[in-house]
């Protein structure tokens, strides 16, 4: 990894680690605002990666998104970054729009064109909607950036992150441009995949540490082969998830944001990271035992998010069907060339 990206990774991890405290996470999960988190992000300029602050925004975004997952950052930085990425794909700029912003999923959005170019309709499952100024939403082959007026209705995911509903009545978008609506799902899937990869790395580290410290039968539980082999399996999933997420962003960067590449990479990353998330949460909880199942312990801040993120913007099963259909349609002679062309 090049040096500037290593520095970016270190500074993001350092900043986000300070917010990964159960006391703060509990407050935000209960619905309290934590403006200091967003202020600290803006002070570093992390939200501007797709707005001119980086000359390699996709690869830098991967680093930031994994760090967000690794520290279960309680703020919509991933959503802001991927909204900016989608805006770029639609030939639009996010400059001048106050942040944070978020993006909606086509499966949960129904918008129609109303009088004078305004839009009417609704969206739900909108991540962090009530703390965001605008949402990028799909409408008739367009990306529309619609202002949110703060009256979002709050649901929460099992990660206890806000997933809001919002009704639009003759709202004038601040920007719009042509964009394949499947790319909303792809961008969301890429975002959640990278967050999962980061969170799984954190889960691996905390579980290994616990296995070395916790004594039963007179020795550390990590000295038992039964535990060692479970953690080896977890390490394999973590390695695969991280490579899948990193490679997705690398290849999108190489392709200059090509739509077909984004769809393929989103599928591979969401499928692989989703499966890894399931295994990681299961092995971590089994290793931690009862203490890891308590509200007091920090493990659940990671595992509840893994369970939530693996379902959002298309589950592994949803993406598997989509990818499988395209593989089958191309036929068996095209299969291996497709695998090698993916790099």
């Amino acid at each position: 990894m090049d040096e500037s990206r290593t520095i970016l990774e270190e500074s993001a991890n350092k900043l986000f680690a300070g917010f990964a405290e159960p006391a703060l996470l509990r407050r935000v999960e209960a619905g309290e605002a934590a403006p200091e988190v967003w202020a600290a992000i803006e002070a570093m300029g992390f939200e501007l990666i797709f707005s001119g602050a980086s000359d390699d925004p996709w690869r830098d975004a991967a680093v930031i998104l994994k760090a967000c997952g690794r520290h279960v950052l309680p703020a919509p930085l991933p959503e802001t970054l991927m909204t900016a990425a989608l805006m770029q794909c639609a030939g639009l700029e996010l400059e001048g729009v106050p942040k944070p912003v978020t993006l909606g999923a086509p499966a949960h959005t129904e918008l129609a064109l109303a009088e004078g170019g305004s839009v009417t309709g609704r969206t739900s499952h909108l991540a962090w909607g009530h703390v965001c100024t605008h949402a990028a939403l799909p409408m008739l082959g367009q990306l529309v950036l619609a202002p949110l007026d703060g009256r979002s209705q709050g649901d929460r995911s099992i990660g206890r992150e806000p997933r809001d509903s919002h009704v639009f009545v003759s709202v004038t978008p601040v920007a719009s441009g042509p964009l394949n609506e499947q790319l909303f799902t792809a961008a969301g899937a890429l975002m959640r995949a990278a967050q999962m990869a980061g969170a799984i790395e954190a889960v691996l580290e905390m579980t290994v540490q616990y296995a070395r410290e916790r004594h039963q039968f007179g020795k550390p539980i990590g000295s038992f082969q039964a535990i060692q082999h479970q953690l080896a399996i977890l390490a394999g999933h973590s390695a695969a998830a991280t490579r899948a997420a990193d490679a997705a962003f690398e290849r999108i960067a190489q392709s200059g944001g090509d739509a077909d590449v984004m769809l393929f990479e989103a599928a591979v990353a969401k499928i692989r990271c989703g499966e890894a998330a399931t295994a990681a949460a299961s092995i971590a909880h089994q290793t931690f035992g009862a203490i890891g199942f308590t509200d007091e312990h920090k493990l659940h801040y990671f595992t509840r998010r893994l369970w939530s993120w693996r379902s959002e913007f298309g589950s592994a099963g949803w993406w598997s069907q989509k990818l499988g259909r395209s593989v089958a349609a191309a036929g068996n002679d095209a299969f291996w060339p497709m695998v090698t062309a993916a790099g």
Partner: protein, 380 residues
Amino acid sequence: MGAFRFEPAQLPPEAEKLRAEVRAFLAETMPGIPAHIRAGTWSRSDEDFSRRLAAKGWVGMAWSKTYGGHERSFLERYVVLEELLAAGAPVGAHWIADRQSAPLILKFGTEAQKQAIVPKIAKGELFFCIGMSEPDSGSDLAATRAKAERHGEGWRLNGTKLWTSGAHRAHYMIGLFRTSTESKHGGLTQFLIDMKTPGITVRPIADLTGHKHFNEVSFVDVELPADAVIGGEGQGWAQVTAELAYERSGPERFLSSLRLVHELIGRVGTNPGAREAAALGRLTAHLVTLRRMSLSVAGMLARGEDPALEASLVKDVGAVFEQEIPGIVQELIDVEPTLDRADDFARVLAELTMITPSFSLRGGTREVLRGIIARGLGLR
């Protein structure tokens, strides 16, 4: 931050050019080979096929021209290997010599050994086998009991090696023998053994498919010259450990069931049902990711780094993947596996169903690999 890291590896443009050449060669040579033989790929030997590959310059690709090599990059070699495996080429005859025996000799051997042996491997004239496992020493390799004693100027070998793939065809073995009982790991030495030496008996062992590719090799008062030692006396364990990084991370560690994925795509057709599509998509995501992990390790090897932990992770995750494929396919497609009908799908399913147990045994068992990974995590 973590105990392991998989950096991206980009294949150079010349590697992609080479890929086209290999595909053209395979398009010519593969159609005559039956589907269930293709399913076996690197566990199937065809000496003539190996010599044709050598004539193309695809054996000994990364070695120095001084020793008959072709001085291509490690990543170019990777591309040739994965294309051969993906096509199901019967590359077993030269596979071991190319993958680890010659690299071992080049790294630890004497100048005379390098000159005498390596150019002939590159020509596809010499094939090798590996004498590691024994009847009482499988995963516990350091428990090796077959012994080599000094005898006159040279050595005298006694003992038994087991599960020795290709010993019946190999011209040479690189065998691990005990030269001292004072230290478990420090008393082992590797020998270059001409398989025609008197006192060596090779007894084939049929595997559960009936196919005979591995053997029991017994040594009774086998006399070797002094210069048969490879590397240092007592250095066998360290040399074997280095050898295994090459053995564990290659594309053969996750492509073993690829023929069956091809057959599955053919069988489900261009408009599959939901279950079939989901299974296919999942396998694709796993395969693409494993290949990227394996390429990353190849890049580390090319840079001279030591990816022992990463290699073990690729082999462990790869074996789980290639091993689960026959079961997944069998649940999706209602066809009985058999080798006795001229139905490629049924034959490939039959062959792979039966050989999958070996995927997590050969080259280090799953349990040994997970032990290595646990050590890398700091648990041992």
